[in-house]
Symmetry: C2
Subunit: 108 residues, 2 copies
DNA sequence: TGTATATATGACTATATGGTTATTAAGTCT
DNA sequence: AGACTTAATAACCATATAGTCATATATACA
């Protein structure tokens, strides 16, 4: 039975995780990490985000468990914790495509 | 190749969908709809949300395509648009369980 | 030690949004 | 028509947060 109701506390935790993915900048960062590990400077370059801003986004992603990090000298290297992120995004993208398709049919 | 980079516009849309799920109250509403179609009054009773508040949450969920609605007389009945929501939530819950497990090991 | 570099953090502003109360709109009933 | 019910909307407040600037921390290097 894949359907036990979640407690308010669990709902809060799940919502928190979704919130980490509910920001275009953070999704962009995750995309930048898809090819592999990158340090903050490389992430800035790839995404065009400001340094402080990106640092905060990375903290959120790390707190939510989507990225892991590793210090090397003065740099911090971030990488995806796993590929759940893309499973989630692909599901969402699938929905968007389906929507687009429906909209197209409406206008046809 | 399941890995085309998303455009900023697409990132925005995906983030918007995640944002719809990034609120405990909305997840609670979705849970309440898991058993089947319900009108707003029933949703209020099940979730304990205020009427205006729930109405706004329902609008967000509808705009994001997670629920569909049907008017019957003076009532509005809402239902889940599909079960993607639960695929998404189960993925997140799986992550939480894994985290909990890791934490437990740390304290062991 | 002093300087440069990379990242994190704190302070601040502007905006978005969750929750509440009051009101509106639409349907039902007598 | 008038009273009642259900849901949506508007106005409002309080809080959260994305973005930016300035500063702190930490490592490397001369």
């Amino acid at each position: 039975m894949p359907g036990k109701a979640l407690t308010p506390d669990q709902l809060l935790h799940v919502a928190e995780r979704f919130k980490a993915l509910a920001e275009p900048s953070r999704l962009d960062i995750l995309q930048a990490l898809k090819a592999g590990e990158r340090n903050v400077g490389e992430i800035l370059e790839k995404t065009g985000l400001g340094q402080a801003n990106a640092s905060k986004h990375l903290r959120v992603l790390h707190a939510a468990g989507f990225v892991e990090r590793r210090k090397e000298g003065v740099s911090t290297y971030y990488r995806l914790a796993d590929n759940d992120v893309f499973k989630l995004c692909e599901l969402m993208c699938g929905r968007l495509e389906k929507e687009a398709h429906t909209r197209k049919k409406l206008f046809a």
